[in-house]
Symmetry: C2
């Protein structure tokens, strides 16, 4: 399945913070065919550093999509049955308007003049894309981590537009610890003199700061157990310790590699804006009353968490589930056993596949019967 | 109790890595009185960024010691009964020889020409200090975190010199995740151009890199729950989000404050050397056979962990305890309930006090009877 990223254009987008953007672009891909009554569309929302290329092999790069193990013929999001859409999030750096985009008012990159955005703004842009594609109602919005926040926000902002949502490994509001890890990443980037207050687009990017930020991220995506299994105390290339500050351990080598690799594909300012959107995320707008947020929702929910995920721990999913149950909502929940930590939704997909497939099938049948 | 830091001097110290240091100094403090038969001495070993000033009020700074709630008259380490010693660890920056010390061969600071040191080297220097103080046998070596590693190393390197050890919130070998967090801190420091390959002693220190490293540390010292209780999503000074990159949340403000504050009291190169010593720490020297390490030990053990400590999780203490039990060793173990995470051994000391007091008392009585 060779796929190409497409681009939708919009004149303007009003933002939750009060600002507005003009000439907004959204990069997206689609997989499968939209059926005649336009009832089989599924929107996939990506995590922090994801992109529109979720499945198939990219025409441009030859690389598989980030959720190719979940999206395709016969897979959880079965492209023989469903029309699957994935768009790069607002604020990103892979085709959708973000801080690295050209500000039409100045002809130069926005950099830090880009307005602070929210998860709701991301969802708003996705809704405009869905409208442009002529889809009145989505069968499902599904995603993990920040993608799960967007799925939840869809159920709150556009409950009449989405039959079901599948928030995975996520939370209904960012916690102090989650904010803290994001803040460390931001400070690492801003501490890099190459960041230049965000104006580095015609110079070298703040590679070392961004790399440190990514290293912290990678630790939080894995579990203590998966790191022990994958690396333990294995040494890199030596019989003994080097007794110097070169790489001694495999885990050091892995983190440095992943940090450096990330710099070539991700924009440091997007890192700042997207982490800020996550930190602002609170479905209840600070009231703490989840019931108000979901008050209007008759959407079906499938909530999934993973036992070893300590970045978005299961209890945060369970708070959503308990609330929806108290409201007599239609909610299924699975706390899947996995050692992979937060990464589980990307890599440990066997059981997740069965659960998602069954849930989508029953939602599609219910929709047809209605 | 006004206390003064003292300094012991030694001609040389041979290191595990093969190098040796000349003109080594060790800063230390003592509390209480050594009894006539010199049988009541307890060595306290400090955590990563600790110092010799463990108890009482410093004559120099007017500040209480870092474990003043555990050491003093009537406290867990009762200075009415015991003679308590605490020395700044080798490689540190608060009086003991470290990378910021003057290399007598050159007259300039060692900086990165300082040899890589190990936990065993730290313990070796402590043994030389104990010898100089005329103490043949310690009643106890006790400490938390890296202090716990030193306590365990004492039991392995000098079993005949220590009647009991109290390793708290620690591990018998640094895990991949523990190494990973340390490596992020090191990379943050080394990414700071002010680090200058360690040669910053006559210039400004790598303050931003060191601050980022400390921020990561602070997250790992607290628990998800204690951060939620202390900060939650509380905003700093605003009714609403700032929609900018200033401080929005209390937790951001706290981390920035703690990061900046740390720079004034800690040397970045010491951060590098001491984290490296932690990462090299493996009581079994890579064999994984704990029984070999403890083969000669007839020392009594009191092992303490805390339920919410995810940096040095309880299972790591339990591995030590299980091994010692299998060897028919004299080992007591408590997994204390606490929400404070790794910081618990410093702040949540009520139950810890009772347990330590009883254990020391029974050890002292056993010693007298023998």
């Amino acid at each position: 399945m060779i796929v190409e990223t497409q681009c939708a254009r919009f004149d303007s987008l009003a933002l939750e913070g009060g600002a507005s953007l003009s000439s907004v672009e959204a990069a997206y891909e689609t997989y499968g065919e939209l059926n005649a009554d336009r009832s089989n569309a599924i929107l996939i929302t990506h995590a922090f550093t994801g992109e529109a290329h979720a499945a198939g092999i990219s025409h441009e790069t030859g690389k598989p999509g980030w959720w190719d193990n979940m999206i395709g013929p016969g897979k959880a999001f079965d492209t023989d049955r469903y029309f699957v859409i994935c768009s790069n999030a607002l604020g990103g750096c892979q085709g959708t308007t973000g801080p690295g985009s050209i500000n039409p008012a100045t002809g130069a990159p926005y950099a830090m003049s880009f307005p602070v955005i929210t998860i709701r703004d991301m969802v708003h842009l996705q809704k405009m894309l869905i409208d442009q594609l002529g889809i009145e109602r989505l069968l499902c919005v599904a995603g993990g981590s920040m993608g799960g926040m967007q799925a939840l926000e869809w159920a709150v902002s556009y409950p009449e537009v989405v039959r079901c949502v599948i928030p995975i490994a996520t939370t209904w509001r960012h916690s102090a610890q989650q904010i803290a890890f994001n803040e460390v990443g931001r400070q690492a980037i801003m501490a890099d003199p190459d960041w230049c207050d965000g104006d580095y687009y015609d110079k070298k990017p703040p590679a070392r700061g961004l790399s440190v930020a990514r290293m912290v991220g990678h630790i939080t995506y894995m579990s203590d157990e998966s790191m022990r299994e994958k690396f333990g105390r294995k040494l890199r290339q030596k019989e003994k310790f080097g007794f110097d500050f070169g790489v001694d351990f495999e885990v050091e080598s892995y983190l440095r590699y992943r940090g450096n690799q990330f710099v070539s594909r991700f924009d440091a300012n997007s890192y700042l804006y997207i982490t800020k959107a996550e930190d602002y995320f609170d479905l209840t707008n600070g009231t703490g009353r989840l019931s108000d947020a979901f008050g209007r929702a008759d959407t079906r929910f499938l909530v999934i968490s993973f036992t070893s995920d300590w970045l978005y721990p299961s209890y945060q999913s369970q708070e959503i589930v308990r609330l929806l149950r108290r409201m007599n909502g239609d909610v299924a929940y699975c706390d899947l056993p996995s050692n992979y930590g937060h990464d589980a939704f990307l890599v440990d997909v066997a059981e997740q596949t069965e659960i998602v497939r069954g849930f989508l099938d029953s939602t599609a049948r219910t929709a047809k019967a209605a």
